[in-house]
């Protein structure tokens, strides 16, 4: 059994979902001793090429990371019906394709609540990377959570830029965070990859709180990272490979929400002191309510709009 | 024998396959003015550049004040008391005079101190040599004559004992040239040595003590000026008999080709550059425009050639009004099509594209002509043929159609431009400084060609700062001063004195 992972343009070490996928694959390798192949594309045309190449080289399961692969996966999967394909972050059609999508809004909702509860100024901030629907879904979930905790809270939101560079500009991230702090924000959540490093750094410099994203970033600046919104791409990739190996892999759409452990908030030794009992109970309660369906978090992508501002 | 300031023994210099200086051996006596003459490309500038450390000789010895020296850079030359005023001025245009003078000889890390010291020194030099140069003027805005004085001041400021001047008078008016010579004589009196490169034999006879004649990289003669005549020098230089006197038949003016009346030009800053200019020009005559440069001649050419719009007035060309002419293309192109050709004053910057091949320059301005195109493409063969004809007829050397024109000597560049404009068979030819920097052989040729053109019935308007040239070629002479016409007289009646008075604005 040979699995393979294909990273998108942002690159394997994007401190975001590509990196999380890499972590998952590594975990699989460690657990099973099975090596995997990996590839990274540099432009549009290479997407199909790389997928096709891997399919041809007797790879059993090809995992494409990122919504930009959707089209390529659909095309190539149709050409190689015997090979299993998977895509993370979007839905691709095909009888041999599994699509793993996350309910980012649910995890964001939780950290939004935590943010409001931790905020003294009752102003919380959001900093996204590039202005795309996925990132807007983060922001929208966050705003819903924030407002749920306190309807009067103000959510200040910024996007970093309009090119993929927006995920790699920590200086600008820091500047955006500072601008929000100057406007009274005291907790800021970033969904901006490498740019977010600057956000968290600025939070620390200004003695404010930041919220990490994707992986657990609490340890980066202990005492200054309130929590992290976990998006377990690593789990998803690990699970995909494991299923592939065991033969339990199935085509179709897999949605990873709070219920499935696909998203979560992070509580560990690094932020233990920042999270009061009150926050912890309220957030965990919300988590339960979402899982049980009592609380519905709106997905920005569903209607291209957000119920709260 | 007097002491030698500079002595060269067996100096050789190659540029690739060109042997620019062949086994040069000669000496310059201290405290003299030493002339160096020779055709374009004879190797004069190269030789001087070697003395100034700009180029390194391939072989040979250079002695300064009797001591063999290796001059590796201009810096070293300056240290040995050598100063050079280059053919193309080596000035930084946006700098002030003062800044240009201290450049490279500042004397301290900060500028304010250096400039203050230089200012005092400069005042003294200004006084000693009767130079009137404003230390705070921007060099780029100065006239060439003043720029040259700045160059001389630069060398004096550095304490030069030997002053090399490469074609200093090529761009000067006679008055400015006279002034330069006055300065050079003063320098000689003070014991300085001057080396003077020039194409003007009159100047050589006027001021030099010794003359060295170069031809094709070699020294072909070294004489005391007192021992020779102009004609001897010319023959020595070119290697054949040169006819220095133009035989001019009387003009037979035909119909009126150009009628200028009440022409005015005011620039963006409100300065009047041309004031109420009126004159006529007929077929078969040459009208010369004399004047100290900067008195509107250049602007007049620009207006008449369509490169600049007049503010008011009328220009009638073959009965057509040009000033109000509405054209879709730029006026310069429209005028050319009507039959006005133009040889610009600043040939190397305006009249040609240095990086273009000869054949490309041969069609500059005529690139839209049906005769050079085939559909939307060029007719390459026709262009080359045309260029070849130019080269043959005007004896352009080297006779290469595929050589960057920047690599040709000034005289040969001028011939290509001349050929191009004459070939267009214009009714009116505007000519600016036709022989600037050109050697006497080429001058002879160019003058003959212009006369021939006149005799074919063309109208020629000639602007030149060389009074000799104006007087030799023109049938009528118009003198300009301060943007206005200060007088007009038949060439036969003109003398240097009468023209000089008019040029000074005395009616």
């Amino acid at each position: 059994f040979t699995p393979a992972v294909v990273y998108d343009q942002a690159g394997k070490f994007d401190k975001s979902f590509n990196e999380a996928a890499y972590t998952g694959a590594e975990r699989f390798k460690k657990a099973t001793g099975i090596a995997y192949r990996e590839a990274q594309i540099a432009n549009e045309a290479q997407k199909e090429q790389v997928l096709r190449n891997l399919a041809r080289k007797n790879v059993d399961l090809v995992i494409a990371v990122g919504f930009s692969f959707t089209q390529a996966v659909q095309t190539v999967a149709a050409e190689f019906p015997k090979v299993k394909f998977a895509i993370v972050d979007d839905v691709a059609k095909g009888d041999n394709v599994q699509s793993v999508i996350f309910k980012e809004q649910e995890g964001s909702y939780l950290v939004g609540m935590a943010a409001t509860l931790a905020s003294k100024s009752k102003k919380v901030g959001f900093i996204g990377g590039m202005d795309v629907p996925l990132i807007r879904a983060f922001g929208c979930g966050y705003a819903q959570g924030a407002k749920a905790a306190d309807a009067k809270v103000e959510v200040v939101s910024n996007m970093t830029g309009t090119t993929p560079q927006a995920f790699n500009d920590p200086a600008r991230g820091g500047e955006l965070a500072r601008s929000q702090f100057d406007r009274g924000v005291d907790v800021v959540f970033h969904a901006a990859g490498g740019t977010g490093m600057g956000v968290l750094q600025a939070a620390k410099d200004k003695n404010k709180l930041g919220i990490g994203v994707d992986s657990n970033q609490n340890h980066l600046f202990p005492g200054f990272v309130l929590t992290s919104m976990l998006k377990r791409v690593d789990n998803a990739v690990y699970q995909l490979m494991l299923d592939g190996q065991k033969g339990t892999w199935k085509a179709g759409v897999v949605t990873m929400g709070l219920k499935e452990g696909g998203v979560d908030w992070a509580l560990d030794a690094n932020n233990r002191k920042l999270i009061s009992k009150d926050i912890e109970t309220k957030v965990n309660q919300a988590k339960k309510d979402i899982i049980s369906g009592k609380v519905k978090v709106v997905d920005y992508r569903a209607g291209n709009s957000c119920p709260v501002k | 024998m007097a002491e030698l300031a500079i002595e060269l023994i067996g100096v050789n210099k190659h540029f690739g396959e060109v042997h620019a200086n062949k086994n040069i051996t000669f000496g310059v006596r201290k405290g003299t003015v030493h002339g160096i003459i020779g055709e374009n490309g004879a190797g004069k500038s190269t030789l001087m550049s070697i003395i100034y450390g700009y180029y390194q000789a391939d072989s040979g010895t250079i002695k300064i004040n009797g001591k063999a020296e290796r001059i590796r850079s201009s810096h070293a030359a300056i240290g040995l008391g050598i100063g050079m005023v280059h053919q193309h001025f080596m000035l930084v245009d946006p700098f002030t005079v003062l800044e240009n003078i201290v450049l490279g000889a500042e004397g301290g890390m900060t500028l304010d101190g250096s400039l203050a010291a230089a200012r005092t020194h400069l005042q003294k030099l200004n006084q000693d040599y009767g130079l009137q140069v404003d230390p705070d003027a921007i060099v780029g805005e100065l006239g060439v004559g003043t720029q040259q004085r700045v160059e001389i001041l630069k060398t004096l400021y550095r304490g030069a004992d030997v002053l090399i001047l490469d074609e200093p008078t090529a761009v000067l008016t006679p008055q400015e040239a006279d002034d330069l010579f006055r300065i050079l004589r003063l320098l000689r009196e003070q014991g300085k040595t001057v080396i003077l490169i020039t194409h003007k034999l009159r100047e050589v006879m006027d001021i030099t003590d010794d003359v060295t004649v170069m031809r094709a990289g070699e020294i072909v003669g070294q004489v005391r000026t007192a021992d020779v005549t102009k004609e001897d020098l010319a023959d020595l230089m070119v290697g054949r008999k040169v006819n220095m006197h133009l035989d001019k038949a009387a003009a037979v003016p035909g119909e009126k080709v150009l009628g200028v009346s009440g022409l005015n030009l005011v620039d963006g800053r409100g300065v009047a550059l041309l004031k109420d200019i009126s004159f006529d020009l007929h077929a078969g005559e040459i009208v010369g425009i004399a004047g100290v440069s900067g008195n509107g001649q250049s602007e007049l050419l620009e207006v008449l050639s369509g490169m600049r719009d007049a503010t008011s007035g009328s220009v009638q060309f073959k009965g057509q009004e040009l000033v109000t002419l509405k054209t879709r293309e730029p006026k310069a192109a429209a005028y050319r099509k009507l039959g006005i050709a133009h040889i610009p004053e600043d040939r190397s910057r305006e009249g040609m594209v240095k990086d273009f091949m000869t054949f490309e320059n041969a069609i500059l301005g005529y690139h839209d002509d049906p005769s050079v195109r085939r559909g939307f493409l060029f007719n390459r063969k026709a262009i080359i043929e045309r260029c070849r004809r130019f080269i043959d007829e005007f004896d352009v050397r080297p006779a290469l159609t595929h050589r960057r024109i920047g690599l040709f000597s000034g005289g040969n560049q001028q011939k290509v431009i001349l050929a191009r404009e004459i070939h267009a068979n214009p009714d009116l030819l505007l000519i600016g400084q036709p022989t600037r920097g050109v050697d006497i052989g080429a001058i002879e040729f160019i003058h003959k060609r212009l006369m021939q053109l006149r005799d074919e019935g063309k109208a020629l308007l000639l602007v030149s700062v060389e009074l000799d040239e104006i007087m030799a070629l023109s049938d009528r002479i118009i003198v300009m001063n301060g943007g206005a016409i200060s007088g007009e007289l038949p060439a036969a009646e003109a003398t240097a004195t009468s023209l000089g008075l008019l040029m000074g604005g005395h009616k």
Binding site: K15, G174 | L91, L111
Partner: protein, 315 residues
């Protein structure tokens, strides 16, 4: 009031690396060498500063390393453009690519953190310094802007004065300008054209070094792949905008930084009459403004005459 302060404060912070890079470009371009390599110089400096500051646990050593790296890249640009008379535009583009490629490779090899360097602790960074009597002027937004920054911001401010003094009032400055305008004239005056150009590269490299170090040591606390994010090009644009004059170039940088600060604060804000403008348009604001300013007020920019032309002794 607070908004004004916040904007001015951000302007100062954001403009600092731009100003330093623009001044660096000024030396290079005034000497006649086109400097597209500003980006690469800065990025290399950021990388070196991050690595060394982390290892030495000292921002000053990191700054030194940044300066050294900036100068090293500048020397490469110099060797190509000055000694080998190479095409300066190509050299700049190539150097930027090389630095952009090699830094993450080295970072990965040395720190195993995916092309990043470890996050610096506060001891290894330049943090805000509190100036005395800061409170006394707390009522003035404009004055307050100048307090509570890190030392490099003040260094940059100081350097503007130093640079404009050097360029206009020192012997080196005179030679620099001469070499960029007319190298043949400078050469004839006994000045080593190549020497001056190398010197300009060295100074420019050092300034870029400070700029790059600022990004890491003052702003982000770690090196991240391509973290200069086009600042070198923006600085170059500001330099051209300022017609190659120090204060005008600084003004260009300030305009960029200022509109950027405004832009950040305008995102998502409902404007009277217009309503909410898409973020994308607001983000384009600094660039649109630059174009408008260039077209409307700045007039023709006249570059140093010899810029981009290798100096070859001949006429």
């Amino acid at each position: 009031m607070d908004m004004i302060f916040s904007v001015l404060d951000a302007t100062l912070r954001v403009s600092t690396p731009l100003v330093l890079a623009a001044l660096a470009g000024l030396f290079s371009e005034r000497s006649g060498v086109v400097d597209l390599a500003l980006e690469g110089k800065m990025l290399a400096a950021a990388f070196a500063a991050a690595c060394v500051a982390y290892i030495a646990q000292s921002p000053w050593v990191g700054l030194g390393a940044g300066i050294a790296a900036g100068m090293a890249v500048a020397m490469l640009h110099g060797v190509v453009s000055i000694t080998y008379n190479g095409n300066q535009l190509i050299s700049g583009v190539a150097i930027n690519m090389m630095v952009s490629g090699v830094t993450p490779v080295l970072a990965l090899a040395w720190f195993q953190q995916g092309g990043r360097t470890p996050t610096l602790s506060d001891d290894a960074r330049f943090t805000a310094i509190e100036l005395p009597f800061a409170d006394a002027i707390a009522h003035s937004a404009v004055l307050k802007t100048f307090f509570g920054h890190n030392i490099l911001v003040y260094l940059a401010l100081l350097l503007i004065f130093v640079v404009s003094w050097v360029v206009y009032k020192s012997r080196f400055g005179l030679r620099l300008r001469a070499v960029g305008e007319n190298p043949h004239a400078a050469d004839a005056a006994g000045i080593s054209v190549k020497g001056v150009r190398y010197m300009a590269q060295a100074i420019g490299g050092a300034l870029c070094g400070v700029a790059g170090a600022y990004l890491v040591l003052a702003q982000t606390g770690a090196f991240i792949q391509d973290m200069t994010a086009g600042k070198g090009y923006l600085a170059l644009a500001a330099l051209i905008f300022g017609k190659w004059r120090p204060w005008s170039a600084v003004l260009g940088c300030l305009i960029f930084a200022f509109t950027d600060a405004i832009q950040i604060r305008l995102q998502g804000v409902e404007l009277p009459l217009i309503g909410s403008i898409p973020d994308a348009f607001i983000q384009a604001l600094p660039y649109v403004l630059t174009v408008v300013l260039l077209a409307g007020f700045m007039g023709r920019a006249v570059a140093p005459k010899a810029i981009g032309v290798p100096f070859v002794k001949s006429r």
